[in-house]
């Protein structure tokens, strides 16, 4: 087990060094840092002086070592566009993204497992078939289109009254009532400061603002987990030990949840872990649709304005998150399923 962990750790460090090399190349050779800091009108002496101060005269390996050292201390330079240290910007924006990702992951996991168990147990019911068909749509729609459709359905339509008659649920509510159930579609609402962490999870408005972006971000992973749990349930329900449990006269509840569900969860944990990475990637899109002031929105703006320091910092941070998740999942998986340890180490060396 120790050999396995050390092996995986070395691989993770290797990946991070490769990513750091790319980030270094981007930050040093894309755009002209001297021009960006001094402007076009600086004299040649000023340029030479700054070049020396920044250490751009040193050989490339020395510069790379310095880049890695600075990155380890969280220093990625100053944003061209906002003229503030990148690390401050990211620390400010990180809580918003993490809260969004946390809410989306929770929705995906809870509803995905419940829906998967339900459709797995009643595989021929009309409701199950309906859920499966809808889930197919969830997989094939692009994230930003889902966001727009949700905004239209839950923020725009409830407020649209035509001649005092509501288009949407006209029989159930009058206009004033429907306008009240409409959901906010941009920003975070009220936030509460806990030290440096701005949290939207402590106010009712904050939660209301989380609904639409959270659902948008979770939908793809929800369908993925739902389909996975369903197929695993179908597989497990056919096994001998389930038949034996039934023959012993155990209740349906004990069989389904005590025996079957437990055995479907190993692959679900793996997939869920790996998918947290994709949630962070797709949060860039969701944050843009809902003007959510997180890291993803910051990154998109940096791409629009070719703001290199923010782009490199985001690249390194995202890669770090993915590597940590992959490492944790690998170790957890090996801890859960001992058969994998020997093979995995061999495969890693090959």
């Amino acid at each position: 087990m120790l050999a396995f962990i050390v092996n995986r750790l070395l691989q993770a460090i290797g990946v991070m060094l490769v990513v750091a090399l790319f980030a270094f190349i981007i930050s040093n050779y894309v755009g002209d840092p001297i021009n960006n800091m001094l402007g076009q009108e600086a004299t040649l002496q000023d340029r030479a002086q700054l070049k020396k101060d920044l250490g751009l005269d040193d050989p490339a390996p020395v510069q790379f070592a310095r880049f890695v050292g600075e990155a380890l201390r969280g220093n990625f330079g100053i944003s061209y566009q906002m003229k503030r240290p990148v690390s401050h910007l990211i620390v400010e924006r990180l809580p918003a993204t993490l809260e969004l990702v946390f809410v989306a992951a929770t929705i995906a996991l809870v509803l995905g497992v419940i829906g998967g168990v339900f459709t797995g147990l009643r595989r021929n019911a009309v409701s199950s078939r309906a859920i499966m068909t809808i889930s197919l749509v969830g997989v094939s729609l692009p994230t930003f289109v889902i966001g727009i459709l949700l905004i239209y359905g839950f923020a725009v339509l409830p407020k649209s009254c035509v001649h005092g008659v509501h288009l949407f649920g006209a029989l159930l509510f009058d206009c004033a009532d429907v306008a009240m159930i409409s959901l906010p579609s941009f920003g975070r609402g009220d936030t509460v400061d806990i030290g440096a962490w701005q949290s939207g999870l402590l106010t009712a408005e904050g939660w209301r603002h989380l609904v639409l972006p959270g659902v948008t971000l979770s939908l793809f992973n929800l369908t993925l987990i739902l389909r996975l749990v369903r197929s695993e349930m179908l597989e497990v329900l056919r096994t001998d030990y389930i038949k034996f449990a039934r023959a012993r006269g155990l209740t349906d509840r004990a069989v389904h949840f005590g025996h079957a569900l437990k055995n479907t969860l190993v692959p679900v944990i793996t997939v869920a872990g790996i998918q947290i990475g994709s949630l962070i990637a797709f949060s860039t899109i969701t944050e843009t649709v809902f003007q959510w002031p997180g890291m993803g929105l910051l990154f998109i703006q940096s791409v629009q304005f070719a703001d290199v320091p923010i782009m490199t910092a985001y690249l390194v941070l995202a890669a770090l998150i993915f590597v940590v998740i992959n490492f944790t999942v690998d170790v957890l998986y090996a801890a859960i399923d001992p058969r994998l340890r020997a093979d995995r180490v061999a495969a890693g060396r090959a």
Partner: protein
């Protein structure tokens, strides 16, 4: 018989022979047996045809300023209140016909999608083929880079490459090269899938007798790779390519929606959705929902074709 002979004289016997062979093939049989696939193929064909021939087929010329009238702005779709039958799907904020802008926009989306897939295929095939053929440190270097790249989601990578390429371009020329930037970003972000598949297929083919025979009679490595091995590994590449086309079209739309793709002056479907999004709250839903619908139908149809091709070419599922 006579008709056949006439056709042979007009288009050549080879074409008829190939067509007959195609009609008798397993592939065509499985195609005909699946109604979903036939519908998907027809929809794909109609959409691509409409997009490619947009200049001839579109009812209006939305990107020629002289031909649009600002008085026509914000017209609702023809069948609703306030609609006008000159504009079937309504008009946008500048009075441009939505149907025509969608046709022209789809043209750009499809072009960028095809070009990005072609670039990814080219890089993936070259690297995968050479990595599989010449094993050793070169192979592990290529595959390790592919592995590292696969740990980062494609859309994030495409965004990053997009940003870097834009930073490299001289200022004020970013709009001129927008579609090229997109092709490079999406193409570079998706080559590892092709490289992996081609490499593993090459490893299988390399050990077969026909390759050994070619090597024995002194055929150069490059010729063996391109003329002997490549045709035998193309099947899975086509499957990934078709599924990749749907992904590339969605990636292009996403980047354009995020404002780092095609500019509003030459909009793709994603740009149209982004521009229309600003009018969603004031009730002009058609400006954003029709381009979104076109994007959904296009990607769904291409996806279904790809799924069918994957199952039809997989001998295990027959």
């Amino acid at each position: 018989m006579n008709a056949d002979r006439l056709r042979d004289r007009l288009i050549g016997a080879g074409v008829r022979h190939r067509w007959a062979r195609f009609r008798a093939s397993d592939l065509f049989y499985s195609f005909r047996r699946s109604p979903t696939t036939v519908v998907a193929a027809i929809v794909t064909f109609v959409l691509i045809f409409g997009a490619v021939f947009a200049p001839l087929l579109a009812p209006h010329t939305p990107f020629i300023p002289a031909s649009i009238d600002i008085n026509d702005a914000f017209k609702a779709p023809a069948w609703t209140q306030g609609g006008d039958w000159r504009f079937l799907f309504g008009t946008d904020n500048q009075g441009r016909d939505m149907l025509s802008t969608i046709m022209y926009g789809g043209r750009l989306s499809i072009f960028v999608g095809f070009a990005a897939v072609a670039l990814a295929m080219l890089i993936g095939i070259l690297l995968g083929l050479s990595a599989g053929y010449f094993s050793g440190w070169y192979e592990s270097a290529v595959m390790r880079v592919a592995d590292v790249q696969l740990t980062i989601p494609g859309i994030l990578l495409a965004l990053l490459i997009d940003g870097v390429v834009r930073a490299l371009l001289p200022p004020n020329s970013k709009e001129d090269y927008a579609s090229l930037v997109l092709v490079i970003a999406i193409g570079l972000a998706s080559w590892p899938q092709y490289a992996r598949v081609v490499r593993s297929a090459t490893l299988v083919e390399k050990s077969k007798d026909y390759v050994a025979a070619a090597r024995v009679i002194g055929v150069p490595s490059l010729t063996i790779m391109l003329r002997h091995i490549l045709p035998n590994v193309m099947g899975p590449v086509l499957v990934i390519g078709t599924l990749g086309l749907a992904l590339a079209i969605i990636a292009e739309a996403t980047l354009s929606f995020l404002g780092v793709g095609l500019p509003p002056t030459s909009p793709s479907l994603g740009t149209l959705i982004r521009v229309g999004n600003d009018f969603l709250f004031s009730g002009e839903w058609w400006i954003t929902l029709f381009p979104a619908l076109a994007l959904i139908i296009l990607s769904l149809a291409v996806n279904l074709l790809g799924d069918w091709l994957r199952d039809a070419l997989n001998p295990k599922l027959r």
